[in-house]
Symmetry: C2
Subunit: 388 residues, 2 copies
């Protein structure tokens, strides 16, 4: 049964690339030794080498050293480890933490969990495009601040933060900076030699790599306590049997992302925004037009429920989502849209489009055509639209 | 390049079963949606269903309900979550924790990490066969005790604890019990309707399933705080994108273990022990003969270094290990062998054999023959053996 659906959703990037699959396969069936057996027999050495080669590839993508990359089970774990590990290591310095108001749940809810344990958290405001107020950030840092955690690209509206300014402020004030780069990794490069960020969360599932694997970049000499206790794996920073097949797959996925692909994805995304903006009335592009990850579009269609639009699109073979993946479940309004000054109507009328390697111009045009029709139909029966 | 090595090591069980691989494949390429998209479009529903079916299979294997199974990234995470989640939820009750002296690192080092945070830990002794002193356990429980964590099968010597007695004691005293069943899961069944254990750590990599996936069984109404913060996945108990392909693979791996296979594995293991005991002098079977997981043998060869034996066996195409996987790296003596009253010589002269689906009688006989020869050669040059 071939799936004819066109995916413009976060699920699109969880589709594994065949080449990633092929790269992983030998580590399931041939070189399947556990890495810590390297001192006991030959296959252990090969397994350990594959793991270290994967680590080098990930490190290169950030211009980091292999010794600064720790493999984790994914971005949620990376952000938990970064925030809980650093705050634990620096608890004698203070208990003040700064995050942005529109962080994704791993950072936002880790901060809230620490708040219950007696930490003081400041949630920094963003402007209408989702960008952080850097002056407010500078003013909020105190002698008690142990960590600032500001995302690179937003999970819903794709807005990119000015990491260069943010990291300069943190460095000047002597405060560590973590960034959740889950939704920008390899699409918008970060060079850790140029940007003095201390910890970076990255993951594999957003770039056609396997799920269940991610990394935390930890700049050399950053104070951090172990969060996952157990064995001595990952430079004694993260316990747990090394997931070598997934690490190798993650590295392969990183290698497969090219500048050319990023340009193509951006062109498709721009085409969708351009057509919707010019062919459908009463729409808002949520997020910054200029400072935006190349694969994200987020659009509010006034007088229309995002949920209805989503269901109609599903029936026609298009997958999109409203709010973040985690949100869709509850019908709460997105904290991101509210965070950039939107109201509940704007939040509920928004669709998020995520472009991936497998999207085509043909299906991009087809989804715009479908949206035009569905929006017109839904508005026809909307009492709010009538009153307009 | 075909690998001719015969694996009698923990790595053996990390070799993925082809049928597991086939079961996972559709969830990489066809039904790759994220599970939380179930409300947005059709593929999300299929993905969610696959996840829940996998959960049911895991639950059935313990005679538990699906709502009592949380997927994690593996046994290390499961044990961290169990111990840190329960102690956090019960911190008003007390800060006393009991573990056995011979626990594997995830439990042992989590306990030690909590000790640094002000918890009081009691490390219960075991007898010469590795079995817990249940009287000592009963006496050690106080009003301040929030959790007892005692493994099911030992990671090195395979000794099975008397979970029935241990759980009765805990229940009687009103204290929660966690067991790390990583090294017994499906090989020695646990029925949670019969044994009142509250939390169980299990994993996939020990039964030819994928790495990077495990579960924590949490009996209904057990007080536990979330440890991995972020999204609302896994009944809002464990955040992080659901690893559906790995969960499906884990479930398949569970289905593939049969009683017949366990009998066969045990027969091979018994054959190895029988031959070594009768054909090689000065050997000790470490652990209990009677209360032992069916796939483990652990033998000390006096007057021989385990590391030398391991290297000689590797050259002849046999993979075994000394100590636990985590230990091999350092040359510290195994805390398990020391825990059952062994000395450093006994610890360093021990080999652990782990039998899996792929071991044969032919290679079992071949490794015994090889060990006989190597041990004889090594003893010939051993000054200790000479003096005997």
């Amino acid at each position: 049964m071939e799936d004819k659906t066109a995916y413009f959703d976060n699920s699109a990037s969880t589709r594994l690339d065949e080449r990633v699959f092929e790269a992983m396969k030998p580590y399931y069936f041939d070189t399947y030794a556990v890495a810590t057996s390297e001192f006991a027999y030959s296959m252990g050495i090969d397994a350990k080498e594959a793991l270290e080669e994967a680590r080098s590839t990930i490190a290169d993508s950030l211009n980091a050293s292999p010794g600064e990359i720790v493999f984790t089970s994914g971005s949620t774990e990376s952000s938990n480890m970064a925030i809980k590990g650093v705050t634990s290591a620096l608890k004698k310095k203070g208990k003040h933490l700064i995050v942005s108001k529109i962080e994704d749940f791993p950072v936002l809810n880790t901060a809230k969990a620490l708040e219950k344990q007696g930490f003081e958290i400041d949630f920094i405001e963003v402007d209408g495009s989702g960008r952080l107020n850097t002056e407010q950030l500078a003013e909020t840092i105190t002698d008690e601040t142990v960590l600032v955690s500001i995302q690179h690209a937003n999970q819903e509206i794709g807005t990119l933060q000015d990491l260069e300014s943010i990291s300069s402020i943190c460095k000047e004030k002597g405060v560590l900076l973590h960034t959740d780069a889950t939704h920008s990794f390899t699409r918008v490069p970060i060079d850790v030699q140029k940007i003095p960020v201390d910890l970076i969360t990255i993951a594999s599932h957003t770039i056609h790599g396997p799920r269940g694997i991610g990394s935390l970049y930890i700049r050399k000499d950053t104070p951090i306590n172990k969060w996952m206790d157990g064995g001595f794996q990952e430079f004694n920073l993260r316990a747990g049997l090394e997931n070598i097949p997934a690490s190798v797959g993650f590295a392969k996925a990183v290698e497969l992302v090219t500048e050319e692909e990023n340009r193509q994805i951006k062109a498709l995304r721009d085409h969708l925004i351009e057509r919707i903006s010019s062919e459908i009335t009463d729409v808002i592009l949520n997020g910054s037009k200029e400072h935006r990850s190349p694969h994200n579009a987020n659009i509010t269609f006034h007088y229309v429920e995002g949920e209805s639009l989503t269901l109609h699109l599903d029936m026609r073979g298009f997958a999109v989502s409203t709010g973040s993946a985690c949100f869709s479940r509850s019908l709460e309004a997105s904290h991101v849209i509210l965070g950039i000054g939107g109201d509940h109507e704007r939040a509920h009328g928004s669709l998020r489009f995520t472009f991936s390697r497998y999207n085509t111009l043909e299906e991009t045009d087809a989804i715009v055509d479908a949206i035009k029709e569905i929006v017109a139909q839904l508005r026809e029966i909307s009492p709010l639209y009538e009153k307009k």
